[in-house]
Symmetry: C2
């Protein structure tokens, strides 16, 4: 399957990755988050080529994740900023950074620390259950069919790859 078709899957991960799932996009968004919002500045800081950067920013704008804001009318200079949708990627950024902090840091320690302004502490955010508010770990969660797939099945629609709906293991998920 061509990568361009990946977002046709009935899968929230595939659809999200169709927007941000390439080499550079997360780094671009991270830089914008940290205040590095201008074209040339990102180009230099990230080591991404201008070509690629133009391309990725355009795509992010198309998907409503980033918008362009003019900061110099005369010269038509722009800053790239995150939309509300873009800010919603923050949990993804944070969890990626935390994984790196835990498993890939060198002996000097973590590159950056994150201060929670509300309480003033250096924080290492964790995932909590929306219902019981306890921390959540991989093995404590079970997936089940949601309406997005259930309704399509009820209508007798075929979807997914070669008529098998997706993710592949849903037969098992259903059976459990």
């Amino acid at each position: 399957m061509r990568w361009d078709d990946v977002n046709t899957q009935v899968c929230s991960m595939a659809r999200t990755l169709a927007i941000v799932g390439d080499r550079w996009t997360f780094l671009i968004i991270r830089d914008i988050t940290l205040g590095n919002r201008r074209f040339t500045s990102m180009h230099k800081a990230l080591g991404i080529t201008k070509h690629r950067l133009t391309d990725r920013l355009t795509r992010l704008i198309e998907h409503g994740v980033v918008y362009k804001q003019c900061y110099d009318e005369a010269r038509q200079r722009f800053e790239y900023r995150l939309t509300e949708k873009g800010l919603d990627l923050y949990p993804v950024l944070t969890t990626i950074v935390q994984f790196g902090d835990k498993w890939e840091a060198d002996e000097d320690g973590v590159p950056l620390e994150h201060v929670h302004k509300a309480c003033g502490a250096v924080t290492q955010p964790y995932l909590a259950c929306s219902e019981c508010h306890e921390p959540i770990h991989a093995r404590e969660v079970r997936a089940q069919l949601g309406p997005g797939i259930r309704r399509k099945l009820e209508r007798g629609e075929t979807f997914g790859i070669q008529g098998r709906y997706y993710p592949a293991s849903l037969e098992k998920v259903k059976a459990r």
Copy 2:
């Protein structure tokens, strides 16, 4: 910069993305998480070519995220499973899925639901502060230099892209 050099950055995100930051890897890990652990099965379900799948699994094994477990000695058949390190990617997977559920679901609703076994409820995990346990949002967090960068600066080391340490906007971060 060549992508292969991205993990030389002093940046937890760059280092993590050097492992999982390509088109297919997250989908592979998601499938393994959902119980789809065999080569041919993943190949068919994901629509990834065998070639690419071999390549990605090999890389994940090299990085200690996945291991191969024999389930049929005679025929030398294997299952791919997540290591402890691999399980630590779960928060990343979850937050990616949540973004997709919120912004990219169609009118039928979310494809999958996630049940927190401990409390039995369908959960939509959120990020909480490790110190005050309140929910954390993008605008409530401020980055500051951590030991991994501070110590290198104190020793007078140059690092990052062209001697500028990374992320680019750390000058600003420092100044704040």
